[in-house]
Symmetry: C2
Subunit: 244 residues, 2 copies
């Protein structure tokens, strides 16, 4: 099917997916570029494919719409030369008996969130729990920063306090990164069943969450310099991964 007008009702519905509230109400989101579309397809989450005239659709297994460059441009905020866009369905996950979990409390930068998702996969974590005030994972910048990793990891937005209480009941040891009242990471022998919490870029982990943790750890450094949260998470995950 060919669509040439930006006023077409389907186009209007797709454009709305650039906003979180419409993504949440329809449980749909957009991905741009062949690599991400392939990943969505493999994860069985691709619903529709929009293809610029002249470009070969990467699949015929979902409805394909031939659209103009102008329409594609309306659907991505970033400077992009992609000529295919996928409309995807959000996966649904339930909390599960995971044994290696990353927890984020208020991480707000989309780039950081995307990078942390990649770290979690690289270092064999099974799930990511996000507090309600984290950035939206279906934000275009997050999706780009994950480079498709998004489709390989269960990610749940949840009431952190409640989820952490459940993890503790299930004998999962909870480690938080904190600058104060914390022990050097090298002094820790990580438990196989664990959750690692990282906090907001400016303010760190909320106090009520810190209270629930079994250990507070800090990354040893030469200078009193705070690290970027995605970097700090990578260093901790690597240490925990190597110490198993």
């Amino acid at each position: 099917m060919e669509i040439t007008s930006v006023h077409n009702p389907r186009v209007k519905a797709w454009v709305k997916l650039k906003e979180k509230k419409h993504r949440d109400s329809t449980r749909k989101f957009l991905v741009a570029g062949e690599h991400l579309i392939q990943e969505a397809l493999k994860a069985d989450l691709l619903c529709e494919l929009l293809v610029c005239k002249g470009s070969e659709p990467i699949t015929e297994g979902v409805p394909v719409y031939e659209v103009t460059k102008e329409i594609l441009r309306k659907l991505t905020s970033l400077t992009s030369s992609e000529n295919q866009i996928g409309v995807c369905e959000m996966p649904q996950y339930q909390q599960h008996m995971w044994e290696r979990i990353i927890v984020l409390d208020g991480v707000q930068d989309p780039g950081n969130l995307g990078t942390i998702i990649r770290n979690a996969i690289a270092f064999d974590y099974q799930a990511l729990l996000l507090s309600n005030d984290c950035a939206d994972i279906y934000n275009e910048k997050v999706i780009r920063a994950t480079q498709g990793a998004l489709f390989h990891l269960p990610i749940l937005r949840c009431e952190l306090m409640k989820s952490l209480v459940e993890l503790k009941k299930a004998q999962v040891t909870i480690y938080a990164t904190a600058l104060r009242e914390s022990v050097p990471m090298q002094s820790i022998r990580p438990e196989p069943k664990h959750a690692l919490i990282f906090g907001n870029e400016g303010t760190g982990i909320k106090n009520e969450i810190l209270q629930l943790c079994d250990y507070r750890i800090k990354i040893e450094m030469a200078a009193f310099e705070s690290l970027n949260v995605a970097v700090a998470s990578g260093i901790c995950m690597y240490y925990f991964y190597q110490s198993q």
Copy 2:
């Protein structure tokens, strides 16, 4: 001195500092916000201060210009609510007998570059060498990402091949991160005098540079997933720092 017109010649000269070529020819750059201006002042690199009417200049030790909000807005590209901007002088560094050095070959993302600068300071590196195709460190986004760390580390743009040959002559061991033909990082006992090289986000380290390295290392991972270069650099620097 008060300036109210965006057509004032001084304003025009400051606006030009948003472009690399003008920064390079004048050896000046801009920083926004009190924290960065304080850091520039401490490093003795602040030349002029532009202050929004009603805001208290953080120093009187350099020429202060009272300007309008409109002028300040013209001088920053990012959404910014800063009401002071500093005009700074680029520091001049010469290659030196450093013993712990970070080398970047073609790192192009300003955010990554800024984050790597912070990592280098946190883990006690003495200098950063950049290939000519790296992002400009005086780019507004890089400066923001460094959060002032920029002023605490000698950073040199250079002919990498030549600089690496000099480092080797000075008995500095050169480690490169590479996915192929590399050994797991944990198998390495880092030499105290060393340089660590990280490459371009998409293509890694150039072949001719790799040839000069003493060791090629890779970060152990569970999944075949490439890490963000700033994260990878943080993990390596932490490992080297801990192994000293």
